[in-house]
């Protein structure tokens, strides 16, 4: 009785192992039968991009031509690219504090403070200097590209990465 139970358990474990091995191997090789179809993947990505286009707006300092707004996504992208432009640094999440808004729920006020969470390279020997470089990059991008010249930029080094 015990022998037959042991044999059944052994077969069970072999089945699980075999299904795992086969499925993982097929997935790694890009076999279409064990994962989402290209159409389904593309639908997911299109839905995500469509959703992004309907995000909130952010009030910006008025220009000589009049007031203007920027999408929250565009502002975050600008900040993220500025952070990524410092060699070795990876932008993580950015938090923006806004002045009180004046144009309804979908429009946030002018950015008053931007907090950038970043991952620094393990090879960096001077993290204070690195944080200053990131702050300078973000401040300069905000000033030069969208006219934000009084926004405070805080840098928080959250992670250190090896590669």
């Amino acid at each position: 009785m015990h022998d037959s139970d042991d044999a059944a358990t052994q077969r069970y474990l072999e089945l699980i192992r075999s299904v795992h091995d086969e499925w993982t191997s097929l997935e790694e090789q890009g076999d279409h039968s064990v994962q989402l179809s290209a159409t389904a993947l593309s639908t997911i990505k299109e839905s995500v991009r469509a959703d992004v286009r309907h995000g909130a707006q952010v009030q910006m300092p008025p220009t000589a031509a009049g007031p203007y707004t920027l999408s929250e996504l565009a502002l975050r992208t600008l900040v993220r690219r500025a952070v990524d432009s410092v060699p070795g640094v990876i932008a993580l999440r950015t938090t923006v504090e806004h002045e009180p808004g004046e144009n309804g729920l979908r429009t946030r006020g002018t950015p008053a403070r931007i907090r950038c969470r970043i991952s620094a390279p393990a090879t960096s020997s001077d993290l204070l200097q690195l944080a200053d470089d990131v702050r300078a990059a973000v401040t300069s991008a905000c000033r030069d590209q969208v006219g934000l010249d009084s926004t405070v930029v805080d840098i928080h080094i959250e992670d250190i990465h090896e590669h």
Binding site: A8, R11, L26, H32, L36, T43, I90, A91, E162
Partner: protein, 196 residues
């Protein structure tokens, strides 16, 4: 994105929370196969599994800013998928139809069965048939198990989650989860004896 290690979901999640669509797409690419595996073995229907994973990942994008611990993305997105799959089963049960009037993996992709032209069994049809038969036999047995036991078993044996994680995902106690998995194992073992 520059120099991001392959195993770093956390950074991708933080960037996705920041609105970086590219980072979220990378998370989709990394997790879709795993989520499809869970959904397929719970539902045993390729089209339903694909719909569930698709809906779950779009929902994950809409809610990713609410995820307090970015390192928990894996179990969080599994939870969304699990709930969606169970929802499909329950709707099918209410309608009195079987969610497992299934479409096998290989039938859904004409000319490209499991272990097919791109698989490692290409040129070895006997191995492909065996692998496919094992997967389908397992998927068929799972359909005869109570849906809560089945979901817990899939999360444990197929997705490799800890009992604690599963308890969180299925909103049950850890001892309940252990019991469900033990019963599912017993059932599978019994059914495997009938194969002889």
């Amino acid at each position: 994105m520059p120099g991001l290690p392959d195993d770093e979901d956390r950074a991708l999640v933080l960037r996705a929370q920041d609105g970086d669509v590219g980072a979220f797409e990378a998370l989709v690419d990394r997790h879709q196969g795993r989520l499809f595996r869970i959904a397929y073995l719970v539902l045993h229907d390729r089209m339903d599994a694909e719909d569930v994973v698709q809906e779950s990942l779009v929902l994950a994008w809409k809610r990713v800013h609410l995820l307090a611990d970015p390192s928990a993305f894996r179990s969080w997105v599994s939870q969304i998928t699990h709930r969606a799959a169970i929802g499909v089963l329950r709707r099918a049960a209410r309608r009195g139809t079987s969610a497992a009037e299934h479409e096998d993996l290989d039938r859904a992709v004409p000319g490209n069965s499991v272990g097919g032209v791109t698989g490692r069994n290409a040129g070895h049809p006997e191995q492909s048939t065996l692998a496919n038969a094992q997967m389908e036999a397992l998927a068929t047995i799972l359909q005869s198990i109570d849906e809560d036991q089945r979901a817990c078993w899939v999360l444990r044996e197929i997705d490799g989650m800890s009992y604690q994680e599963i308890a969180r995902v299925v909103d049950a106690t850890e001892s309940t989860v252990r019991g469900r998995i033990a019963r599912a194992r017993g059932h599978i073992l019994d059914r495997m004896k009938e194969w002889r």
